[in-house]
């Protein structure tokens, strides 16, 4: 009994530690006081301000464009890469498999600097294009690793069964392989999307004039202290993330329910 009480207190503390900052952030976004210290009364002014702020809206638009483009491209490349790395044997396959982990574990600052020096070397003008390119580069390994976890040895048998029943390589990929690795591809894509959405370091190095992203913008605003409109902005971002996650969870859940019928 005593043990159980202790356990519950422990869990409560863990959750408090995790969610208290977020709750406070959301609360203060509705605070009429400019100071994040005392709660005066409820207001939506900061949200209104947000939509009047053209610079912020532009940054938001850039961020979404970068995130969506880099997610789509890195997911396609990552899926093809993962399937290819599983199915085919070629020289240096092991090396490539291991090299994939380097962008995942390498300090972002190193990746940022090296990307910047490549772009300078190639005389690429820094801007949205270079940010997208960079985001694709660091997202691909995450997609590959995520897809690879759903590739098992039975997949080969399924593909052989499809061939045996008269399916071409092309049809087999779309009818058999792709549906099987979909969970991995979806979680890889979500990972790539969120990584791109909140990336500061790499974007900082590869951004040019006029290609400000939301995280970079927020970073520059809070240099002069956290203002309530930043609270409002992050609350909105939180809302978007929650909506995306619950939708995917809902779709997946419904599929499982359907399968169980």
């Amino acid at each position: 009994m005593k043990n159980k009480v202790f356990k519950n207190i422990f869990i409560a503390f863990v959750f408090l530690f995790l969610y208290l900052p977020i709750i406070i952030l959301v609360l203060y976004s509705f605070n009429s006081s400019k100071m994040n210290i005392i709660f005066e009364h409820f207001t939506l002014d900061w949200y209104k301000n947000l939509f009047d702020n053209r610079e912020l809206l532009m940054a938001f638009f850039n961020t979404m464009l970068i995130a969506i483009t880099s997610t789509v491209i890195s997911t396609v490349v990552g899926v093809i890469g993962a399937v290819g790395l599983k199915k085919y044997n070629f020289p240096f396959k092991n090396l490539i498999n291991n090299l994939l982990y380097i962008p995942i574990v390498i300090p972002e600052i190193v990746l940022g600097i090296s990307l910047l020096s490549i772009y300078t070397l190639m005389k690429l003008e820094l801007g949205l294009f270079t940010i997208i390119l960079s985001h694709i580069a660091f997202s691909i390994p995450f997609v590959v690793v995520s897809v690879r976890s759903t590739l098992n040895d039975r997949l080969k048998t399924y593909e052989e069964a499809a061939h045996d029943l008269g399916a071409s390589n092309f049809k087999t990929f779309f009818k058999i392989t792709l549906p099987q690795i979909k969970p991995g591809a979806v979680s890889g894509a979500i990972l790539a999307f969120t990584l791109s959405l909140d990336d500061v370091v790499i974007s900082y190095f590869t951004a040019g004039p006029g290609s400000n992203t939301l995280p970079l913008k927020i970073y520059s605003i809070i240099k002069t202290g956290i203002t309530p409109d930043v609270n409002a902005l992050t609350t909105l971002m939180l809302l978007v993330t929650i909506i995306v996650l619950t939708t995917t969870a809902f779709i997946q859940g419904r599929k499982i329910m359907e399968a169980a019928k």
């Binding site: 048998t157 052989e160 069964a161 499809a162 061939h163 045996d164 029943l165 399916a167 071409s168």
Partner: protein
């Protein structure tokens, strides 16, 4: 009669110089239930994969009907495989699984509906169309796999250890059903297994493969009664193999002597020469065992007793020369170190000449 599938001098190696199959010739005839039997790793599954086109030969030719399909890929061959673990597509319903091949063939929707229903009726799975494979039992999955194969009306249906994963009772039932289905459809089945009981129960003909080579190709009865090699005798059922030497040839008979100086007489084979080593095979069930003395009987001592319900399996030492496996029926109780008498049915003693 023209064979429906023919392998001509087929060899296959995966690694340079390491042959899984070497110079194999095999003919399969229409309407036949052929079993390829061998221990694991003998190359039997590779033979099946060569016929289905999932594996290509290193040397030799493959014919289906009178067409040379050596270079034809799997999706274009008119044979279908039932895989060892069934390989039902987990993201498709039973209906879609069975319909898959027909869809790939671009059949019309109403033809697909009709054919799938017919196939599912045949395997007694009507009403299961909308289920997913993971909602089915092992036996039902097996039936879906069969339906998915037969719906294509293949020239030959290939079955790769398809009953192995089922439990014993279900396996026995499916053996009978599979055989019935094959007769009903008049389809040609090539069945690969390592289970000798299964091979004996279902097949019209058995090909025993060891190390990529055919050891014997015959009816189940002949394989059991007249094994051609010691490997076959040992692999199929229980057997006693006793080493012996040809000591004399008289007319159409040979005289054979075992280590403990028992002489036996057999019909002569053209290759027999004095001094050749041969083996003598006796099935345990052809040895009569008794506690009381038998006329012309061998005296022995019980070394091991394994009670198996209907029968009792015994190992009896005869002198110091050899031990014999014997099966005893009935309720006589034997104990280790009992003195017993054995009588071997002369007609069931088979000479085996090694190649």
């Amino acid at each position: 009669m023209e064979p429906i599938v023919k392998l001509e001098n087929v060899s296959k190696c995966f690694d340079e110089g390491k042959y899984v199959i070497k110079n194999l010739d095999l003919e399969i005839f229409e309407g036949e239930f052929l079993t390829i039997l061998g221990s694991s790793g003998c190359g039997k599954t590779t033979i099946l994969r060569i016929i289905s086109g999932l594996e290509h030969v290193t040397e030799g030719k493959v014919y289906i009907g009178d067409e040379d399909v050596t270079e034809v890929s799997a999706e274009k061959r008119e044979v279908n495989t039932i895989f060892q673990n069934f390989a039902l597509f987990p993201h498709m319903t039973v209906f879609e699984n069975v319909a898959f091949g027909l869809r790939m063939r671009k059949e019309k929707e109403e033809v697909i509906k009709k054919e799938v229903k017919k196939a599912l009726d045949l395997v007694e799975l009507d009403g299961f169309e909308e289920r997913y494979p993971d909602q089915l039992s092992g036996g039902q999955q097996q039936r879906v796999a069969i339906a998915r194969g037969i719906v294509m009306h293949p020239k030959v249906l290939l079955l790769d250890e398809s009953l192995c994963s089922l439990d014993l009772k279900l396996k026995r039932m499916m053996q009978i059903e599979l055989k019935k289905l094959q007769k009903k459809l008049g389809l040609t089945f090539i069945y690969v297994t390592h289970d000798q009981d299964e091979a004996l129960t279902m097949s019209d003909r058995i090909v025993i493969i060891e190390k990529g080579k055919v050891q014997q190709d015959d009816t189940p009865q002949n394989i059991y009664q007249y094994p051609k090699t010691a490997f076959v005798a040992d692999f199929i059922g229980e057997s006693n193999l006793i080493k012996a030497e040809i000591t004399g040839i008289k007319g159409n008979t040979i005289h054979v002597k075992t280590k403990n100086k028992i002489t036996l007489i057999f019909d002569k084979d053209e290759k027999d020469k004095v001094g050749n080593k041969i083996s003598i095979m006796i099935r345990p069930e052809n040895i009569k065992i008794s506690k009381s003395a038998l006329q012309d009987g061998l005296k022995g001592e019980v070394k091991e007793v394994i009670y198996d319900g209907v029968i009792t399996k015994l190992v009896v030492g005869v002198g110091n020369a050899f031990k014999l496996k014997v099966t005893a029926k009935g309720n006589v109780l034997f104990n280790v170190s009992d003195e017993v008498y054995l009588k071997i049915d002369k007609g069931s003693v088979i000479p085996i000449r090694e190649k």
